[in-house]
Every structure is written in structure tokens, then in C-alpha cells.
């Protein structure tokens, strides 16, 4: 309290001191403290079950490694991949590194700090995402506590996507876009001209820029009309502002053509959506949300909470916020990977509903010293709990087939191997392209030639699975030790187990060798 008094009644002979104290009071204000707590939560949300360490989710995603492979290739060759060289099943087909910007950032982080560099990047991105979500929620409700509680509730939901992939950058850009649009609605219009620049970076980082274009179009369309329908509100923009928004939107639509691949990169999301039939059911994140999983349960609880809150104490919402929320809910329900989209668009709505129940921030009652101590504790905690190089390496070995890769390196004959899809990226990074993979997480290059379909037949040991080995001329097989396919191969005289550790097993085709 003494500090607060000092802020309110500064010594008359020290004007500089007054300014410094005011700045410090702002720096260590309650909202900043809430931001620090959310940062700690975001860092904690990067912990993976199989690797209970901060940034452990680095190992929860097989795609991380092929993104890194592409990033390293671009840094090394100063060219963008255009032809597939890492797999033998899609060898020579045209490829687009549609997330090359994010991949280069990942490669730079890896170059700077190896696994620790990647871990730091993941934690940094998660923290940035959560803090932006907090700010976006605050912009709408102007209640830091409500915004922080909303962000805290949504962090577990969004954390399902806190993996080391460029998509986390993409959704961070989406948040920035929504923040610019919200500020624009509130009269801060000039900063909107930064959006074309953002879109230029975004389209070269992750294909989610389509969501940004959708948001721009939605805000523009909702600004054409003015009405109040129950709690739904639309406010017509003055003609000049409408024109401004339209020009910015058009500029954004134009700059997304500026990529190493021209307009093909911008067209990628649409091509993917049209040709994704196999992907939707073959891969979990494109499947529907699992409501019995923790983040699914949280998602359901938040929706029900918003419904109850709105019924019991109706609040007004801009029409565009409601449309975004409905779209986010529908997409997240249909595709688990979009829970992060839901988290972004529901943050301001949830915060607005919560702000009716939670007290507003009163700077005069703040405790900057206590806040400073707690912020410092959070920062120290983040540093102290950051995993060591050894710990990360050990987790990598527990999760990916490091030992098997060493074996393959010593046996050049294993050059046409079937592999577990989630390990494909790791193999690309470790021994590609000299040892080409059967399949990895780049779904798009395996969709059109039927490789995904064949992969599923093989891993599920469906009829004709072994015939498919012959079709592809496969002479080895790297799979998980517990995979059903292993049982099928171990009972087959054509196959011989040549390597086994706690995680993986390699089978060699005897018939091929004898020839």
C-alpha cells in the first residue's frame, strides 16, 4: 500500500522519480502479473505425457522433423523444394514447401541451439499465442481479470495444437489479424495497413491465411449493415472506413500471391480441402473431436458454460464475433485440429460473458511490488524448469527410433523400407534422402497416388498387405515393436527380424537377400 501511496503522492522535488515509478507501476501491474501467470500456464501446456518436461510436446508430433528437414534444405541450398526426393513412393512428383517460412525459422532455432533451440521456440510461440489471446479478449471486454480467466480456460483447449509446427505461427498471425480488426472497429484504423505485410509473411509460413481473409471479408460485410436483433449487434461503418478496409483486404489478397511458388501457395488450402478424403479419417487431427479426451471435455464445458451464461445473463455481441464463434465450434467439432481456431474466436465472447461476474481492474488498488515478485518468480520458474540438452536427447531416443536409424546407416541394403508414418519425418532428417522413406506426414504428396490407402492396408494388416510389399519392392520394414504388423511378419518365413530395441523393430526380407 505504501507503494501505491507513493505513486499517488510522489515527492514534489523528484519529477523524474515520479515518472519512473509510474512506469514501474505499469510494468508490474496486475494485468502484467496475469500475463506472467498465463505465460507459465502456456509453458506448462507444452508438457507432453510421454515426456513430462517443458516443451516435451516437441516429441509429440512426427511432422516436426520433416518441417525441419525442409528448413535445413532451404538454408543449405538457398532454393525451395520443387521435386520430391525423400520418399521412393512419391519420388519425382512436384512438391511445394507451403510452410517454408516457418520451416526456416525452425531450422534457424535448431542451428542456434539444437533440440534446446527448438524447445525454446515452441515455448516462446505458446507463450506468444496465449498472451495475444489474453490481449484480444481484453480488447473486447476491457476487464483484465475476465480476459485472463477466459485465456486460462481456453489454453488447455488450444494446447492440443501446441506442437512444433508452423501452424502455431499461423494461428498467432490469425490472432494478430483479429486484434488489428478489433482495434480498427474501435477507431484505431492506421495500424490496419500493417496487415498486407503480415499476410505476406503469413502465406509463406502456414496456409491458415485463408482464415485471415475470411475474417477480413466478414468484418467488411458486417460493416455494411446496421441492426440490433436481440443481443446481436451490427454497426455500419462510415463509407471512408469501409473503403479503407476493402483496400486493405484487396492488398492482402494480392500479396498472398508473392511467394516462391507464385499463386500455387495461396491455392494450396483449397486443393487440400478438395482432395483430403483419405486424410480426414486416416489421421486423428482431421478426425472429429474426442469429447472424452481432456481438451474435448474442456471444449464441451466451455460451450455449455457460454450457453448457460448467455441464457441467465444475456450480453450483446457483434454479429461477426458470433459468426466466427459458430464457425469455430463447427470446425472444431468436425476436425479436432481446429480446436485452436475455436479457442481464438471464443476468447473475446467468453471474456465478455465472464466480465459480468468478475470485478473490473482498479489500478489504485494494485500491488506493484507483490506483482513484481510474482512475475520474477514466474520468469525464474521458466528458466529453472527449462529442460537440459541431455534430457531432451533422452526423450528423443525414447520417442523416435534413434537406435534403428544407426542400424540402417550401417546397412545400405535397407534402401526400400516400409516405415511407421509418424517416424517418416525423423528418418528424412536423419538419413534422407540417401535412405528414402515409404511415407511421412506430408499427406498431400501421398494422397493422389494412393500411397496413404496402401499404407493403411499394410499397418492394419488387411488382406493383401504383404502383396503390397511386393508392389513397392520393399526389402525392409521399420515399425514399432508393438505394431500388429510385426506379429504378421514374425510368423512369415520371408521376413527376418534383424534389429529390435524397446521402441522399434526392423525386419529384413530374406527372399530378396537370397536373390
Amino acid at each position: 500500500m505504501a507503494t501505491v501511496q507513493a505513486i499517488e503522492n510522489p515527492a514534489p522535488h523528484h519529477p523524474d522519480r515520479r515518472g519512473a515509478v509510474t512506469i514501474l507501476a505499469k510494468v508490474f501491474s496486475f494485468p502484467v502479473f496475469m500475463g506472467a501467470v498465463l505465460s507459465a500456464g502456456a509453458a506448462a501446456a507444452t508438457v507432453w505425457n510421454e515426456a513430462p518436461i517443458m516443451a516435451g510436446k516437441l516429441f509429440g508430433e512426427g511432422d516436426t522433423w520433416w518441417h525441419l528437414t525442409y528448413g535445413q534444405s532451404i538454408l543449405a541450398t538457398h532454393t525451395w523444394p520443387r521435386v520430391e526426393i525423400y520418399s521412393f513412393t512419391a519420388h519425382g512428383v512436384s512438391v511445394i514447401a507451403y510452410e517454408w517460412g516457418g520451416e526456416v525459422i525452425m531450422a534457424l532455432a535448431y542451428r542456434l541451439g539444437s533440440l534446446r533451440g527448438l524447445a525454446a521456440l515452441l515455448v516462446l510461440l505458446a507463450i506468444s499465442f496465449v498472451l495475444l489471446m489474453f490481449y484480444y479478449a481484453w480488447l473486447r471486454c476491457r476487464n483484465p481479470l475476465a480476459a485472463a480467466v477466459a485465456a486460462a480456460m481456453l489454453t488447455p483447449v488450444a494446447s492440443a495444437c501446441f506442437t512444433m509446427r508452423p501452424q502455431l505461427l499461423g494461428y498467432t498471425f490469425f490472432l494478430v489479424t483479429l486484434i488489428f480488426l478489433e482495434r480498427y472497429k474501435q477507431g484505431l484504423t492506421k495500424s490496419l495497413w500493417l496487415l498486407p505485410l503480415l499476410f505476406l509473411v503469413w502465406v509463406n509460413t502456414h496456409p491458415s491465411e485463408t482464415l485471415g481473409l475470411f475474417a477480413l471479408g466478414l468484418y467488411w460485410a458486417c460493416g455494411l449493415v446496421s441492426f440490433k436483433w436481440g443481443p446481436l449487434v451490427a454497426e455500419r461503418f462510415p463509407a471512408g472506413r469501409r473503403r479503407h478496409l476493402l483496400l486493405v483486404s484487396l492488398a492482402c489478397a494480392v500479396v498472398i500471391m508473392v511467394t516462391p511458388y507464385g499463386p500455387s501457395l495461396a491455392a494450396y488450402p483449397f486443393e487440400f480441402i478438395l482432395g483430403r478424403s483419405y486424410v480426414t479419417w486416416a489421421f486423428t487431427e482431421w478426425g472429429p473431436l474426442d469429447f472424452s479426451a481432456p481438451f474435448g471435455w474442456m471444449f464441451l464445458a466451455i460451450i455449455l458454460l457460454m450457453l448457460v451464461s448467455q441464457w441467465s445473463s444475456p450480453a450483446s455481441f457483434p454479429i461477426e464475433a458470433v459468426i466466427l464463434l459458430l464457425a469455430g465450434t463447427a470446425e472444431a467439432s468436425r476436425h479436432a485440429r481446429f480446436v485452436i481456431f475455436f479457442a481464438v474466436v471464443s476468447a473475446p465472447v467468453l471474456a465478455s460473458l465472464l466480465s459480468k461476474w468478475l470485478p473490473t481492474y482498479r489500478p489504485d488498488e494494485d500491488h506493484p511490488i507483490a506483482n513484481a515478485v510474482l512475475v520474477g518468480a514466474v520468469i525464474l520458474g521458466l528458466v529453472a524448469f527449462f529442460p537440459s540438452r541431455l534430457r531432451l536427447q533422452q526423450t528423443l531416443e525414447d520417442t523416435f527410433p534413434v537406435g534403428a536409424v544407426d542400424y540402417i546407416r550401417q546397412h545400405d541394403s535397407l534402401n526400400h523400407m516400409f516405415n511407421d508414418e509418424t517416424w517418416g519425418g525423423f528418418l528424412m532428417l536423419s538419413i534422407g534422402p540417401t535412405h528414402q522413406v515409404f511415407m511421412d506426414g506430408r499427406d498431400e504428396i501421398y494422397t493422389y497416388n494412393g500411397v496413404i490407402e496402401d499404407y493403411i492396408r499394410i499397418v492394419q494388416a488387411q488382406p493383401g498387405a504383404l502383396d503390397l510389399f511386393r508392389k513397392y519392392g520393399i526389402n525392409g520394414c521399420l515399425i514399432r515393436r508393438t505394431a500388429p504388423l510385426g506379429k504378421l511378419l514374425s510368423g512369415n518365413p520371408e521376413w527376418k527380424q534383424v534389429y529390435c530395441d524397446d521402441l522399434s523393430v526392423i525386419f529384413d526380407r530374406v527372399e530378396q537377400r537370397m536373390k
Binding site: P288, D290, V308, L326
Partner: protein, 514 residues
């Protein structure tokens, strides 16, 4: 709480000149537009359900009643399998099995099909009635019922749970009638619950709904669009007494307190069943049913925002409960549909009301007769039903099983256990879909080790399995066919039976005996 008086139904505009009486009036009602709409529901339910006869549970249900009629007592221990033979087992759905068995005795598979359709149609007809009771708007009621039909498809089949949902609708009708008019109607609930507990474990959901109904009337107030009205003291007293009586009536069953505790034990002690059984998975929003659930959710969302619809606290509690259950477990979407229908009907009163004066009864009659003729013409023959069964169950192997002796133990496919127990009782099964008894004993876990090829040889040796009877397409068949220790003794496109050719391992302790 004051009982509402039944106001003039806003969903129906009475015809000018008053209603016609007698036979003509009955005919006018029978061939009215609402009846024609209900006939469409009837048709769609028949079409959606007619291919669902081969439910894996129905066979052991029939066997249970066969045992009951032969021995005049319920089976208290397992006698069908060799893995859990002699272990205590509670037939918690015994009363629902009897009508299915009697239907089968009377008309064979057609009897089971007819009973299933009668149950389904009764549920949805009563649901239309319940929705109308709430909304007084027949078109809105039928619209809401379409949602319920779409969500209910998850349980379309000859299943005992249909009795449970029938009782659920009756419970809701009684509660709604009590809320609107009071009176003695509540006293139907103790016998209903007594019937329910002997029929299906869903009585626990009924008690929960009844409890929520009472609990939400303990407070009074209005919060935005949410309204709660406190019970009048005499009503509350009556509700509590009936609740306690209904609770006491649950103990009137052949297994006493054990059957009352069964739903809790089922939910807490069967993790494998919850994880691996198809009907316990979460809702798939890519499926048509999932999309309907999503539309219903979006409707509620939108109504929360734009509608001035006044929500009763009871409705809110019901709908939250129903959606939590329905979205978490696909099988509870039926429950979600049943509970949501009357509320959706009340919200959908923006639909233009039915106007009898512009009704074209000759057209309605033609459509109704057309639907009835179509259903009768397309009703599956016994051969059709046998074919349905043969497409999913190993019907073609039955003569082979009857003609030969199989001295060793047989590992069977999970979904085929009941079918074998009913059609080839001389074969003692490894597992069937009475998952509780098998999971308690660890047998279901061992079965999954074989099915998922985690440790098939270990389990086959542990149980001294001599024969394996599985679908031809299953990976375990291909694995064993590749081994020199097993040879096929029967094979068709659906079914493969393998026999062990090596001597059985010794030393492992088998469970039960064949």
C-alpha cells in the same frame, strides 16, 4: 409452483364452423396433415431400422430366456463360455428379453423385427405426444421429433435399451403432466421404475432426470431468459415421497441391492468396454448422425443469442445433461434426442401453425395408404432376414459345427459369441458381448491382446486354445495361417476356422473347462 392451465393450442387454428363429430370427425383426424407427417416418421423409422436386425446381443438374450423357460429360474452363473464358466453373473435385462423371445417363438426372426419396430414407433409416437403436450404445436412437435429420429439411429436394432427409452419418454410425459396439472399421475412412477430396473440399466438415468426435475423446483427466480419456479409445499412433499417410493421399488427385483448398484459398477469397473466398444465412442461429426447433433447444438447456440425463449431451469439442466451424455458417448445420442425434442418443439413455435381448414384430407389419405402399402410390400421376408444374419454372422459354418466334434477349446470372434451360444450351444465360447463378466475376469483384456495382435500366441497358449473361429478378413487369421502350427478346417469368404496342429502347451493354468 403453480400448475399451468392448458391454453388454447397456438399451433392449431380451429376450423371455422366448429369440429365435426362422430365417425366423420374421427376420419378427419385420421387423415389430417399432422397424421400424414407422423406417417412419414413411421416410414423413415422402418426404413432406417430394417437392416439392423443382426445385433450381437440378441442371441444370448434369447438363450437366457430359453434357459429361464426351461428351468424356471434366471441364470445366476455363466454356462455359455469356458473362460468364465460357473462364475456369478447377473442377468440385469431379463424382463426385456422375454418379449423378444416370445416374438421369436411366434414368428421367428420376423417376430423380432416386428417387436423392434413396434418399440421404436411407440417411442417416437409418444415423443410426438410429449412434444405436443409441451408446445401445443403439432408441426413444431413433428419437426423436433425428426431430430430425435436422426439421433436415435444409434440404437436402432433389437435391443433391450429400447424399453429403457420407452420408459424414459413415459417418465417425461408423467413429469410434464404433473408440472402442468398436478394430481395423482405421479404415482405411476414407482411401478414404472420397478418395471424399468428389471428391464434395463437406464433406470439410473431416469432417476437422475427425476431428481433434476425435483431439484430445479427448489429455487425461485429469473436470471435473464432463465426462469425457476419453486414447488408449492404440497407438490414438493408429493414429489419427494414418490421419489423415495420409486427408489424403494427398485429393490423389487430378483437380485436385490446388487441390481440397484449395477449401473455404478458398470460405469466404474469396465474401462476396456468403454474404450474399445463401438457404441461407447465419442460422437463422430462426420457421420450423418453427428451432423444432426451439430445442427441441434448450433440451433441451441443461436437461440441462446437471438431468441427471447424463456428457459426453465429444469429444461436447462435436462439439456446440459443430455448433451454432455450424447456428445461424450455416441450411444447416448438417443437419450439426447428424447430429452431435447420437447424443448426444441417449444422453441420452434415460429413454424406456421397447422390450419385444418385448408387441409386436403384426400391427399393425406392417399399418402398415408401409400406409406402403409410401401411398408407392407417392402417388409423383409424370413429369407431376407436370414440373409441379413448370414452377411454378418457365421451362419454357413453351423452345419459343419453340428456335423463334427471339436474336443478342444475354441477362441471365437467377440461379436459372434452370442450367435454361437444360441445356434451352436455345444461349442463353449471364449467371449461374447456380455462384456461385464468377461472384463471382470480379465478375459476381455486377453481377447483384445489377440484381436490387436499384441500377444496372440501367449493368449492362445494360456487358454489352451485348439480352434480359432474368426472372420476371414481379420489379421489374426492371416497371422495364424502363416504359421505352421495352425491349419484351416473351414473357410468361406466370411468365416475361417483354424485348428492347432502342434501339441498343446503344458504348464499354463487354464480358466474354466470345456
Amino acid at each position: 409452483m403453480h400448475h399451468a392451465t392448458d391454453a388454447a393450442p397456438p399451433g392449431v387454428t380451429p376450423p371455422k364452423g366448429g369440429a365435426a363429430g362422430g365417425l366423420l370427425g374421427a376420419l378427419r383426424t385420421a387423415f389430417s396433415f399432422p397424421v400424414m407427417l407422423v406417417a412419414w416418421i413411421f416410414l423413415v423409422v422402418v426404413r432406417l431400422a430394417e437392416r439392423n436386425l443382426p445385433d450381437p446381443d440378441i442371441w444370448w438374450h434369447l438363450r437366457n430366456v430359453q434357459y429361464l423357460f426351461a428351468h424356471h429360474q434366471l441364470p445366476n452363473v455363466d454356462t455359455y463360455s469356458f473362460t468364465v464358466a460357473g462364475q456369478p453373473w447377473m442377468n440385469h435385462e431379463w424382463l426385456a428379453e422375454i418379449p423378444y423371445y416370445l416374438a421369436w417363438r411366434a414368428f421367428g426372426l420376423e417376430g423380432i423385427e416386428i417387436l423392434m419396430l413396434v418399440l421404436l414407433e411407440s417411442i417416437f409416437l409418444l415423443l410426438v405426444y410429449l412434444s405436443y403436450q409441451r408446445s401445443h404445436h403439432i408441426k413444431a412437435s413433428i419437426l423436433a421429433c425428426w431430430f430425435a429420429v436422426a439421433l436415435g439411429t444409434v440404437n436402432f436394432g433389437p435391443r433391450t435399451v429400447l424399453f429403457g427409452y420407452l420408459y424414459m419418454v413415459i417418465l417425461l410425459i408423467i413429469l410434464e403432466r404433473f408440472r402442468a396439472r398436478g394430481g395423482a399421475v405421479l404415482w405411476w412412477l414407482p411401478p414404472l421404475f420397478c418395471l424399468w430396473i428389471n428391464t434395463h440399466g437406464s433406470w439410473s438415468l431416469g432417476m437422475l432426470i427425476f431428481g433434476l426435475f425435483i431439484g430445479c423446483g427448489m429455487v425461485q427466480g429469473q436470471w435473464g431468459n432463465l426462469v425457476a419456479q419453486r414447488w408449492a409445499p404440497q407438490d414438493l412433499r408429493k414429489l419427494v415421497i414418490v421419489y423415495i417410493t420409486a427408489g424403494a421399488s427398485l429393490f423389487a427385483n430378483p437380485y436385490g441391492y446388487k441390481l440397484v448398484a449395477y449401473p455404478v459398477i458398470y460405469a466404474s469397473r469396465l474401462p476396456l468396454n468403454i474404450t474399445f466398444t463401438q457404441e461407447w465412442i465419442t460422437v463422430d461429426f462426420h457421420s450423418p448422425r453427428g451432423k444432426v447433433a451439430l445442427v441441434l447444438l448450433a440451433t441451441l447456440f443461436t437461440s441462446a443469442l437471438v431468441s427471447r425463449f424463456q428457459w426453465r431451469l429444469t429444461d436447462l439442466a435436462f439439456i446440459l445433461f443430455a448433451f454432455y451424455c450424447g456428445l461424450t458417448y455416441d450411444r447416448f445420442l438417443f437419450l439426447a434426442g428424447v430429452i431435447a425434442a420437447p424443448i426444441v418443439a417449444e422453441m420452434a413455435t415460429f413454424v406456421p401453425p397447422y390450419r385444418p381448414e385448408i387441409d386436403k384430407r384426400w391427399l393425406n389419405a392417399a399418402i398415408i395408404f401409400g406409406i402403409l402399402a410401401f411398408v407392407t410390400y417392402r417388409f423383409p421376408t424370413p429369407d431376407d432376414l436370414e440373409e441379413q444374419v448370414a452377411q454378418e454372422y457365421p451362419a454357413d459354418i453351423l452345419p459343419f459345427l453340428k456335423a463334427n466334434q471339436f474336443p478342444g477349446r475354441t477362441l471365437n470372434y467377440y461379436n459372434w459369441g452370442g450367435f454361437l451360444e444360441w445356434n451352436a450351444p455345444q461349442i463353449k465360447t471364449f467371449v461374447d458381448t456380455r462384456v461385464d463378466i468377461f472384463e471382470y475376469a480379465g478375459v476381455f483384456g486377453d481377447y483384445l491382446k489377440v484381436h490387436a495382435l499384441v500377444d496372440p500366441e501367449g493368449v492362445l497358449d494360456q487358454y489352451h486354445i485348439q480352434y480359432v473361429l474368426f472372420p476371414t478378413q481379420e489379421p489374426v487369421i492371416r497371422m495364424l495361417e502363416g504359421s505352421s502350427n495352425w491349419k484351416p478346417i473351414f473357410k468361406d469368404p466370411l468365416t475361417t476356422m483354424l485348428e492347432r496342429v502342434e501339441p498343446q502347451p503344458t504348464g499354463a493354468s487354464p480358466q474354466g473347462s470345456n
